[in-house]
């Protein structure tokens, strides 16, 4: 009896029933929202007459659902490939990622026509990026047969990443338009690539490889100053050098969000590798010191902080400049974004206005990428935002679980570091949108519009699934 049970259990896992079962509701949800979108658009365009109109004459046809049907078909193909080739990899990550990237496509479809400048093809472009991302996800799974070569060539990766980003940033400095939101992109014909999205993966690989080799030395601590043990500087040297170069590059072109992200990754990986809270506290002290220096030296940092200090209730009295140059503060870029975003979120209430029925995508600047939280907050309400935060938390939970179960320090640090990218990025952009910290332009994983970001996120998920697959194979003695 017991043996029978065990074999049926294995059979269940081999065919990934859990994943198939979990993919069901996201599929229904995405179809439902896609179905709602044309109705909502009609409703908004004919607000006077449509309210009492019968719904039967307006029902969308299958033709209108094509983008999401295409997306779901791609998801099913990936699921089948996973079932055949990677039956033992984690089954909970992919359904959540499918829901979120599908919602990302829907948001781009919905935001495209409304944003300024309007881009009716935004949704189809995002669908293309997500399809490429799913392909890259499978390529990552197949290519990483063993993690060995990722670890062995760590300095090569590091140099490659820094060169790529250096070229882009040099390009940006040459153009000398640091206020343009696309100043950190590399253009290849019609495609614009953002190398910094890939640099964060490379940095995690480098940190994981370096820390796993020097773990014992770094965890032991170097020389002591009373009760505080300082980390051994000789072993930390390459890490600090890498960190320093990345930070200088990003601060040089005013990418505060990415600098914050990279520093956050550094601290979490140092903690994961050394298990010492004192390093993290020391790192945070250094961070606040650097932040204070930056605040007093650079005017653009001060401008970002000024937006956090906005007193929303007292909005009539926001002014800047003096004499004839006086303008209302929220008529300016950052202040306007934050203020409009907060108004949108609060007007969504608890249940939201309904998908496609809000005004955030037309009224909040850059609603399709940086301010996507405000669109979600308006159209899905507090309930929807909480559900999404829940999905991100589960994503983090699964990632750290894969890290805990992985064999070998390098795999553990790699999975932990990649997972913390998602955590820190979501935290920075959500808190920025809610006016808790200065707003910085980094994408919300899977939901913001953007090709490089989607592809980079799929690479991360691919590495995580591969690690979980390797762990399960080793546990059963098959590798």
């Amino acid at each position: 009896m017991a043996k029978q049970l065990a074999t049926s259990e294995i059979g269940k896992r081999r065919f990934r029933w859990k994943e198939r079962w979990l993919l069901l509701i996201p599929g229904i949800f995405l179809l439902l929202e896609m179905f709602q979108l044309p109705l909502a658009q009609y409703y908004k365009n004919n607000i006077d007459t449509s309210r009492q109109q019968s719904v039967l004459s307006l029902l969308p046809t299958v033709h209108d659902l094509i983008p999401i049907i295409g997306f779901l078909a791609a998801v099913v193909v990936v699921h089948i490939v996973l079932t055949i080739f990677f039956p033992k990899s984690d089954q909970m990550l992919f359904p959540i990622v499918a829901l979120m990237s599908g919602l990302g496509v829907l948001l781009a479809l919905r935001n495209g026509p409304d944003t300024f400048p309007s881009d009716p093809n935004l949704g189809m472009k995002q669908l293309l990026w997500v399809s490429i991302g799913l392909g890259v996800f499978l390529i990552t799974l197949f290519a990483l047969r063993s993690m060995g070569w990722l670890r062995r060539y760590k300095y090569t990766w590091a140099v490659l990443g820094l060169i790529l980003v250096g070229i882009t940033l040099g390009n940006a400095l040459r153009v000398k338009n640091l206020d343009s939101p696309t100043h950190d992109q590399l253009n290849f014909g019609p495609f614009a690539l953002q190398p910094s999205e890939f640099l964060k993966i490379i940095i995690v690989v480098f940190f994981a490889a370096y820390l796993s080799e020097n773990q014992d030395v770094i965890a032991d601590g170097g020389f002591r100053l009373g009760p505080i043990s300082l980390p051994p500087m000789r072993q930390l040297g390459p890490l600090l050098l890498m960190l320093g170069i990345a930070l200088v590059l990003f601060l040089g072109v005013r990418e505060l969000g990415l600098a914050l992200l990279i520093y956050g990754i550094f601290l979490s990986m140092l903690y994961l590798g050394s298990n010492k809270v004192t390093y993290v506290i020391g790192g945070l002290v250094v961070f606040f010191l650097l932040g204070f220096i930056g605040y007093s030296l650079f005017s653009y940092v001060r401008a970002r902080f000024a937006a956090v200090g906005l007193d929303m209730v007292n909005w009539q009295n926001w002014t800047t400049g003096s004499g004839t140059n006086t303008t209302v503060y929220f008529a300016q870029n950052t202040g306007l974004q934050i203020a409009q975003g907060l108004v949108a979120i609060s007007s969504g209430g608890i249940l939201g206005t309904g998908f496609g029925l809000g005004h955030a995508s037309a009224l909040v600047p850059v609603a399709q990428s940086d301010m996507v939280v405000s669109v979600l907050g308006e159209e899905f309400g507090l309930a929807g935002l909480f559900a999404l935060i829940g999905f991100y938390l589960i994503l983090l939970y699964r990632g750290f679980r894969i890290a805990i179960e992985a064999r070998g320090t390098f795999n553990q640090l790699l999975a932990g570091g990649l997972t913390s990218i998602f955590g820190i990025q979501t935290l920075i952009i959500c808190a920025g949108n809610l006016k808790l910290i200065p707003l910085t332009g980094i994408p919300l994983p899977f939901l913001s519009y953007g090709g490089s970001s989607v592809i980079a996120n799929f690479i991360i998920i691919g590495i995580l699934l591969r690690i979980s697959h390797n762990t399960a194979m080793e546990k059963e003695g098959l590798a």
């Binding site: 309930a383 939970y397 080793e474």
Partner: protein, 148 residues
């Protein structure tokens, strides 16, 4: 049915579906956790069995005395890092140096990406090699004999 009523129904349905999915995921997580906690209790009550030994033949430049014996589990890792089954604190041993595992009555040895290499009877073990009792396994500059 009028359009605004229909849209209201769609909106509520969307939120309900989101939370249904969240619930479904959390249920499968709790089930998973319960299963692994049962498995862990089973694993904790019995220590991994000792299926062999490594005896130091030539300690090279290290301070380990020749003749020292290390016990081997079915899955054994050797290296400088604190997570290894056999930890050797010598600079010429990499953090994760060698992997040994025992399957179907046969020992396998493989280098785990070390700097100074792993050798089985003087042959580099970059890929997994089969080892027999009495074979010489060299980890960095330390030579062991595989014993029962």
């Amino acid at each position: 049915m009028t359009l605004d009523v229909f849209l209201l129904i769609l909106r509520l349905l969307g939120i309900v579906l989101l939370y249904l999915f969240l619930m479904q995921v959390i249920i499968s997580i709790t089930r998973d956790l319960r299963k692994t906690s049962v498995a862990n209790e089973g694993a904790l009550s019995q220590l991994p069995p000792v299926v062999g030994h490594l005896i130091v033949v030539d300690s090279g430049p290290s301070k380990i005395a020749p003749g020292t014996s290390f016990s081997l589990n079915p899955q054994t890792t050797i290296g400088r890092g604190p997570t290894n089954t056999i930890q050797i604190s010598e600079t010429f041993v990499s953090a994760e140096h060698t992997r040994l595992w025992f399957r179907n009555g046969v020992w396998y040895v493989q280098d785990a990406g070390s700097t100074n290499g792993t050798f089985l009877n003087n042959q580099p073990a970059r890929d997994a090699l089969q080892a027999r009792v009495g074979d010489i396994i060299q980890v960095g500059f330390i030579r062991f004999k595989l014993a029962q």
